[in-house]
């Protein structure tokens, strides 16, 4: 049961699995909010105790008040994606706890749903203009992004010209 560290990797592997076994493969996503384990709670309490000990002024009053909300605040929320094919037993997982990723992940679920539905994979061509429309970025901006990436990685000489171009666009 491989767990992937990046969602892109999970997406590519899942789409390969889906292409191979489109009928039996299912994708389940789990959003779970769990209270932390007892051991973790006790640890955090100890931490809090040491903190309050170091700040004796606030200790007696705030201790009772803060004791109740901390467990709810410390709840651990995760979003797990799982691609599972019962026929072959393949299971691909990806887990995150970042809210910023949810939109993108559901988007990739949509891409995979297209594979499931046996629709042609024009998704990238179709989705690209939609994304750009969303961020008010026409085609040249995409070029700019590429240049940015090149700038960060490549030698300064090669990326210099591109950087200049990008600046001009910004001024316009």
């Amino acid at each position: 049961m491989p767990r992937f560290s990046t969602s892109a990797e999970w997406l590519s592997q899942s789409s390969l699995l889906l292409k191979a076994r489109p009928t039996s493969t299912r994708i389940s996503s789990k959003y779970s909010v769990l209270s932390p384990k007892a051991s973790k709670v006790s640890k955090s309490r100890k931490k809090a105790a040491t903190l309050t000990a170091s700040e004796p002024a606030a200790a007696p009053a705030s201790d009772d008040v803060s004791a109740t909300p901390t467990p709810t605040r410390a709840n651990i929320a995760t979003f797990t994606l799982k691609t599972y094919d019962p026929a072959s037993g393949t299971c691909l997982k990806y887990q995150t706890n970042k809210a910023a990723e949810v939109g993108r992940l559901v988007g990739s679920l949509g891409k995979l749903a297209r594979v499931m539905a046996a629709l042609p994979e024009v998704v990238e061509d179709l989705s690209a203009p939609i994304d750009q429309a969303g961020t008010h970025t026409p085609v040249p901006e995409g070029v700019g992004k590429d240049v940015k990436a090149g700038d960060a990685k490549g030698p300064p000489g090669g990326g210099g010209a591109g950087g200049g171009k990008k600046k001009k666009k910004g001024k316009k």
């Binding site: 994708i27 996503s29 789990k30 959003y31 809210a99 559901v106 949509g110």
Partner: protein, 145 residues
């Protein structure tokens, strides 16, 4: 499943129910919501005759027509022992069948609903970045000085 699928025309109902499910989860402060998607291969035109299957065992990798996708949502069963109530609370579960031509629109709305509902996840942490910038500025000043 006691109730039928939410059909394509009633897709908005799916989203209102999903939003409600995520909301109850938020109110509870704990618990899980499961969302699954799978090819809907039960329609009669999707399953070819056995002879054709024997001829082409990989027929499902290239069906003649695009197939609908079924999206299910559920929460977890709640144990009466934990809750202190008399009976186990049954799962809330519902599903919708998304026709291939409606997929893009469905997933756009699906993403919105999920983003809004999954509020317990970590928000983007901006404080760290600011700190880094301050640090960088400080080190820069030191270098200058």
């Amino acid at each position: 499943m006691a109730e039928g699928h939410i059909t394509n025309a009633e897709a908005p109902q799916f989203f209102t129910r999903l939003a409600a499910l995520l909301d109850t989860n938020r109110e509870k402060g704990h618990g899980s919501v499961y969302l699954t998607q799978k090819r809907m291969a039960l329609s009669p035109d999707a399953a070819p005759s056995p002879t054709k299957v024997a001829d082409d065992p990989l027929w499902d990798t290239h069906p003649a027509n695009p197939l609908p996708v079924i999206v299910r949502a559920s929460d977890t069963k709640e144990d009466k022992a934990k809750d202190g109530s008399r009976r186990d609370k049954p799962k809330i579960k519902f599903s919708t069948i998304v026709q291939p031509d409606a997929l893009d629109a469905f997933y756009a709305r699906y993403a919105e609903t999920c983003k809004a509902g999954m509020s317990a996840l970590k928000k983007r942490d901006r404080s760290k970045r600011k700190k880094d910038k301050r640090k960088k500025a400080k080190t820069g000043d030191e270098k200058k000085g």
